[in-house]
Symmetry: C2
Subunit: 355 residues, 2 copies
């Protein structure tokens, strides 16, 4: 994976913006580093990747991404350890997933050697943007968009694969309460829910706004057919702790195969936490909340790592979760971050050194 032979065109920015950046007061995903990676697909092939100064794209108004939503993305993070070494966390998972997403949206696969050589070079050039300290990271956003001109509803013949990077502190602030969806849906069987397809996200904004109006920060989506089963939160997979047992929904063509999710599943075994990967009934979670057996709900995702949920709403009722000293959420988050920041052993080989 690290034996790169592909060429790479590099044009450096004449001046860095880093001095103008307040790293103590970052809004998530608003500030970008000095450089970006851009690679065009034309004439049936991905061309030489370019690293160049971060700046605007010029696209025809008829570019297919604007009309038919042919766009997929990934979310990753780079971490800097105490010795100024830079680490990625399971980047092979993100690489494979963006190509799975692309396949489902009829976008050509991106070559592995281009992805890793360009990403690592980009991180080295913008390494000063990665700040040390637990919680600090560089959020990395690889994405692909259809750039071909023309409004006929067919897959494009031209694409852009890009990587942009944004310095990040912790993603969420404040307590998070979620609403279990009773009417709206995120994904259909046989649809694109498992893909990080751009259109999956826009579809969630309106129902999420309704949930916000009702006093919640996010929605936990239920299955579109019956709304009886809890699936995922749109930007996070979801885990439920009932008694000492952890439960999470299986991945499917509706549910994203989250990297943090699968890492938590592995760690649960290491920690001897009983875990069931199976469909989760709304009713069983409500019953567990009422009987006091529901101890925790938390979300997992690259941006948030582990996001504890303080309470939830369903069918007009609101439920609060207990405040635990020894929460699973805390245990997993601590372990994952220690792995990510090179502060503990990495027995699964999840860390990836950027050298």
């Amino acid at each position: 994976m690290k034996n790169h032979t592909s060429t790479l065109d590099i044009v450096k920015a004449s001046k860095s913006k880093i001095e103008d950046t307040d790293f103590e007061n970052l809004t998530f995903g608003k500030v970008f580093t000095d450089h970006m990676m851009e690679c065009d697909y034309v004439d049936g092939a991905w061309q030489t990747p370019k690293i160049k100064p971060y700046g605007p794209l010029q696209l025809d108004p008829s570019a297919k991404v604007f009309h038919y939503g042919q766009a997929v993305f990934e979310g990753m993070k780079a971490f800097k350890d105490k010795d100024d070494h830079i680490w990625l966390f399971r980047p092979d998972e993100n690489f494979r997933r963006i190509n799975r997403s692309s396949e489902r949206l009829a976008i050509p696969a991106f070559p592995e050697e281009y992805f890793f050589s360009a990403l690592e070079e980009l991180l080295k050039i913008d390494k000063d943007w990665i700040k040390k300290g637990f919680g600090n990271s560089l959020y990395i956003r690889p994405f692909v968009i259809a750039t071909e001109e023309g409004v006929s509803a067919a897959p494009a013949k031209k694409y852009k694969f890009m990587i942009i990077c944004s310095p990040a502190q912790a993603y969420y602030s404040g307590e998070v309460r979620v609403q279990f969806s009773e009417k709206y849906s995120r994904a259909a069987d046989g649809g694109v829910g498992f893909a990080k397809a751009a259109g999956n996200y826009a579809a969630q904004f309106y129902p999420t706004n309704l949930a916000k109006d009702a006093g919640f920060q996010q929605v936990i989506w239920t299955d579109a057919n019956t709304h009886e089963y809890l699936e995922e939160a749109g930007t996070m997979n979801i885990f439920f702790r009932v008694g000492d047992k952890l439960i999470t929904a299986p991945t499917s063509d509706r549910i994203l195969d989250g990297v943090t999710r699968k890492s938590v599943i592995t760690l649960a075994e290491e920690f001897n936490i009983p875990l069931e990967v199976r469909r989760v009934k709304v009713k069983e979670i409500i019953d567990a909340a009422k009987s006091g057996e529901l101890k925790e709900i938390f979300g997992t995702g690259t941006a948030t790592v582990i996001n504890p949920i303080r309470g939830f709403g369903y069918a007009g009722e609101k439920y609060e979760l207990p405040k635990l000293e020894d929460s699973y959420a805390k245990v997993f988050k601590d372990k994952l971050m220690k792995i990510q920041y090179n502060e503990t052993e990495d027995k699964y080989g999840w860390r990836y050194a950027v050298k």
Copy 2:
């Protein structure tokens, strides 16, 4: 509707591209007229619409349309009659629908007076691009995209509403055969299938490619829950003629409320064609095909008007439809086009004069 008071900024192109355009050999949606309409949403309001020379957009790589698919569109046509008058067909339906689509994707509604004044002015400026003759038209593509910079997964605060126009001949060439979907889905209950959301289209490309590999041109989507009911074709609503009776699926949160579809429903009554708007079982269509009662299948949509289907595939079997002299498809297409081109009475008030 036609009493416009809004202002409009107009910058004309220095040189027309019309002489370079071969109107006898147009590829659908590839060539655009000299001008376009652009209107920005910033600071909580739509600003003054602009008509300006057709040209590229400059967007930040983090613009939300690229990452979260906040994008909706419409398809309309302008027609020129024998006396050089320009007509639209039920544009109020498209205007209302783009705002319904926008609402579902958390995009602010566009003002009616801006839409009509800017569209009509654009058509007048580019009127030479609308060619006379049955089948010739100007395809009009209004669309909205989220332009705000930043990769946090939340509705944008900045948008662009645009109208671009492309001269068109007939949309489909050759015979069209469709595959009834058995596995893949277009939309979920509680999802965005009823909206002209960009992401709905990208999601169809991969299954449509599989159908093409199997010898079909399009997919007729079935309901995601059971795949037992026929819904729509993604860019067309679908009608089935069994004996003398016409059947089409009801609109829902999964099925687009097509303008051509609803016009056909109205005309069916005028023509005394028995019509049932109800769920259509795959099984009843297969049975009708086997017994010889299935006479026609046709799609309806702005680009194609009425698109006769020659055959279909399901569960590994292929079915051919009879060639009828007196097809409903032909009757509807002829009537609709005569209304569109101002060659017959317009008793429903569907024509809209651009003056």
